[in-house]
Symmetry: C2
Subunit: 217 residues, 2 copies
DNA sequence: ATCATGTATTTTGTATACAAATAGAAAGTA
DNA sequence: TACTTTCTATTTGTATACAAAATACATGAT
């Protein structure tokens, strides 16, 4: 197999977008804080043009606010924003779950179940960060099984914007246990290709997520 | 009431974005066609910088494809794209309908019913364009009643991207009649604040939309 | 005649310079 | 002292110039 012979000729624009996106998601650029253009372009070693174009992309993604003539800030999510986003995310993942049961191959499902099992291993060892990353991947991949591109894009966008908050929120052991229980229910439904039940389980999982994160806002 | 005292000091960026967005939605810039930067900036009377930033915004919205070093094109939707987008849109509007029944004020609902009645007048007169515009507004406003900002944004995005196709698709009289019947069902459920039923009606309406447009792709 | 290779032209990407707007500080007025 | 008002420093917005890449074209070899 000749994988990734492709040289990474990613445009400067794309590189800046993902770099700044990461800085925001990681919390290095704090929510609500001003984005110092001069400072950042210097640190990134790029000029203003690609940087500003990147800001426009991030603004369209909802991570950044650009106010004319008064610069850009990292978008700060209110509790209401997070609630709304989870409300939509839950509903989108419900659809993704239903479609996945209809459209995924047996192998797709087996791979996802495998990922789930590896997550459970991490949970048993209480390895929070690896678990967290696998969890993100689980949701992304399950959504991908819907074979619906716009659905994937919207799910990815919401997941990215909520990334920080969800990590912070999952600190309490009992909350973590609850999330694990949700996942068990989801995987059980997936194995049986029970679309409505999987959809329901996913919607419930996201609803529970709100309960788990709301206090840390 | 002191509405719109605000002078339109919209940034050049925003103006270019909405102008080019309109050109795409109206079909003046044809799907799949190359976007001639030099030509358009000359016609719009702006320089490259705000224009290119606008393209980045439109690319993030999914209306434009920017391929590094080989310019931009108007995104062309395949039948599969349209199907996927309608699948998501239907599901989002289902949620919007459910939430609207829970959260809208009586006056909100009355206003929407009024809009519906005016639409029906247009239908009786077979005024296709005004009907079409009111229809767009109906869906937007019903979604707004969900009081969920991200939901509104996503609905607006999908609606914009599908605008052209839906207009083309609604030509046959029997299709139009079908759409009207769907709307009657939706409004009936809305009047009774029957969320699940309204949600279902909206999902069905969008599913029917696919049937009505699929042949003209 | 066709294909490959090299060159010219066009188009795109990036950097920078200049203009305009904003926010902050200092001075003046009530 | 509080409140304007004006001026200045800084930041942002826009235009343009230059560099790099891609495409189109022409030339020559097979």
């Amino acid at each position: 197999m000749v994988s990734s012979l492709e040289i990474e000729n990613r445009s400067l624009h794309d590189q800046v977008v993902s770099k700044v996106r990461d800085l925001i998601i990681e919390g290095i650029l704090e929510p609500g804080s001003r984005i110092d253009e001069a400072d950042l372009i210097q640190k990134l070693g790029v000029s203003r043009t690609p940087f500003r174009e990147a800001l426009r992309t991030l603004a369209a993604e909802g991570l950044v606010i650009v106010r004319p003539s008064r610069g850009s800030t990292v978008r700060k999510l209110t509790a209401a924003d997070v609630f709304s986003m989870l409300e939509v995310l839950g509903h989108l993942e419900q659809l993704a779950g239903e479609l996945a049961c209809q459209r995924a191959s047996d192998q797709d499902i087996a791979e996802l179940v495998d990922l789930h099992n590896r997550m459970m291993t991490r949970y048993a060892a209480r390895d929070r960060m690896p678990y967290y990353k696998m969890n993100q991947e689980f949701h992304s991949r399950l959504t991908a099984l819907s074979q619906n591109q716009p659905l994937q894009e919207m799910q990815a966008n919401l997941q990215a914007r909520l990334k920080r908050i969800r990590y912070i929120g999952n600190e309490k052991p009992e909350y973590w246990a609850g999330a694990v229980a949700d996942h068990e229910a989801m995987v059980a439904a997936l194995k049986e290709r029970d679309g409505p039940r999987l959809g329901q389980a996913m919607a419930t999982h996201i609803k529970n997520t709100w309960e788990r994160v709301k206090d840390s806002l």
